[in-house]
Symmetry: C2
DNA sequence: CTGAAAGCGCTAACAC
DNA sequence: GTGTTAGCGCTTTCAG
């Protein structure tokens, strides 16, 4: 029993209608809406009451066409399905809202092709600027964006060698700091479960960080037993199973992120290993999950909310004055919780 | 050391440019882009190569203005910060993408005022249709949407008494089913930790479900010790602490969702209570969190992905033919895991 | 401070 | 199958 939603296209009031009712020109109505200060109070009141009585609200397409901007900021994140990005994006959106901008989010499922497609879609949907995660992508994409005059801000990565507006943290240094603690406790057989490194500079930097720490302790980075796997709890568990099946299993497993670490933790439990007595496990990100598991995860805290908020402010400036800010680097810090201890002797 | 992003506004090619280069009219170019089948292959190739050489892509505002639609579908969810909505929204977006539509998401932080504001924003941003969670909101909002001719689909709730397009599940029956199992095991002192019921029909329905089950077992619904609290792990823990401090603490705590249940679980552990020996705990939603905790949560599985996908298909039809579908009810099912057992005798 | 009017770039009748 | 053309509703000079 379906019914028509509307029998006729709704005939909404236009600027001209408001102008007629208020007895002014359309230009004046437009000004009342966009820069009220330029209009005399009396006139403005008349116009605003006309707006109210007619239930007028501006047509988006017309406004976008004439003003040559939409007030829409696009963001493409690898996935919406976990808290890592959700938190930052939520803060990003709240902050954009304060400046009257709207967020248009898409997710790439960690696929460069899908991401490229989404970028084109967002630009086609009128995004005034874009937030992207990490620097790593086909240069053609940056050319495209530059040609279309769409400002881009890169988040989640700090890399001063990339001459692009960015806000993030030093993935490599942060992970090196954590791995250093692991080594300092006496671990010598280290395993690592990382997200897929291809097209993911954050993952690569975190791996490089572990290598750095190994070198710092006079160990050969090649001894790191590295497993790369897609992003999910199940994959973390799978990776852990592989590591533990090694002839000499690692005494500590450093994970590229908390989700993989939680999977590893689950597998350890399933294998009858106690953490951290039998094996230590560390994460990265410090999402809610990290404190929900038992024992709670030792991990690297990333200021997601701050990054989201700051990203919004940078982007607002970029669309405003067309100026590219210098790269911003946020601090991370280590969270020592229950999953890391010295190896059994 | 800031630099200009662009020295001049980019002067992008227009339809007319493409038409000139290809030696056809703008109408033909438009057709090539929108309904290629209507154009002869030879002409089309010529046009498409002109598009490619010029690097043309359509102006969003102009298109929206002329076509009177944007291809943008808005969705407002209570929060992006947890998996409940993220999963469904991800599926929703993927499915919309197949129809060439783009998702514009906003979140209301469970606040009716923010939601109303977001609805206006999304409509102002040109959303062709809206996905909203639950029926419960100021009728003025529905009037506004009807006046603007914006179709709405309600998700997460099935309520045939509401004459609105919707897709969801029977929150009340599902929760009654779970509570019935709890009672069947012999529990007689039941506590409940629910999300705030004001403006949240899903929460109210779940409470009603517990009441139903109580009645079904000849018990007075008034004996249910109910705690309402905002949505977070910490709040779940807090609620649990309150329940356990009661003169006769409940032997089973039914939670309105998995997030609250995980908080309750955490608090139980902290209070030195073992679950389910000392107290049983149940959740609702079956998000990833539910299987990560130990013991894993007994909960109600909701087909989030299916709901998201199906919602997208319904909405595509609604914007396509302007027809309102009849309400759709999806099945939920109980997941018995480790947190529910008979009470100690 | 306000008005007139010229587009903005595209779509969709309609005509051929 | 393709071209002509009239808007779509707003913003923004430019005059006054």
């Amino acid at each position: 029993m379906n019914r028509r939603l509307s029998d006729t296209a709704p005939n909404l009031p236009t600027l001209a209608d408001v102008a007629r009712v208020a007895g002014v020109s359309t230009a004046t109505v437009s000004r009342c809406l966009n820069s009220p200060a330029q209009v005399q109070t009396a006139t403005r009141d008349r116009v605003l009451s006309a707006v109210a009585t007619l239930g007028y609200s501006p047509n988006f397409g017309a406004r976008a066409l004439a003003a040559r901007r939409t007030g829409i900021i696009g963001a493409i994140i690898p996935t919406m399905e976990n808290a890592i990005f959700a938190r930052a994006i939520q803060a990003f959106q709240e902050e954009l809202h304060l400046s009257g901008l709207t967020l248009l989010v898409a997710s790439s499922s960690y696929s460069p092709e899908i991401e490229a497609d989404q970028i084109r879609t967002l630009v086609a949907r009128g995004a005034d600027a874009l937030l992207l995660i990490g620097h790593d992508r086909d240069p053609g994409i940056y050319d495209f964006l530059a040609q279309r005059g769409v400002p881009v801000l890169i988040a989640w990565a700090y890399d001063p060698t990339q001459a692009r507006a960015s806000i993030g943290f030093d993935n490599r240094r942060a992970m090196a700091g954590l791995a250093d603690e692991v080594l300092r406790l006496g671990h010598r057989h280290i395993g690592m479960i990382s997200a897929l490194a291809a097209g993911n500079d954050r993952a690569r930097d975190r791996i490089a960080g572990v290598h750095d720490a190994l070198r710092g302790h006079g160990l050969d980075p090649a001894t790191l037993h590295l497993i790369e796997t897609p992003y999910s709890i199940a994959n973390g568990a799978e990776g852990m199973a592989q590591l533990m099946a090694l002839p000499t299993p690692p005494t500590a497993v450093v994970c590229g992120n908390d989700v993989l670490a939680v999977g590893a933790l689950q597998m350890a439990r399933q294998l009858g290993l106690s953490v951290p007595q039998d094996v230590s496990i560390t994460g990265f990100d410090d999402i809610e999950l990290a404190t929900v598991v038992d024992p709670a995860l030792t991990t690297v805290h990333v200021p997601h909310r701050d990054m989201g908020r700051a990203a919004a402010r940078l982007l607002v400036d970029m669309v405003g004055d067309g100026v590219a800010p210098t790269p911003v680097c946020l601090d991370t810090n280590l969270c020592f919780r229950g999953t890391l201890a010295a190896p059994k002797t």
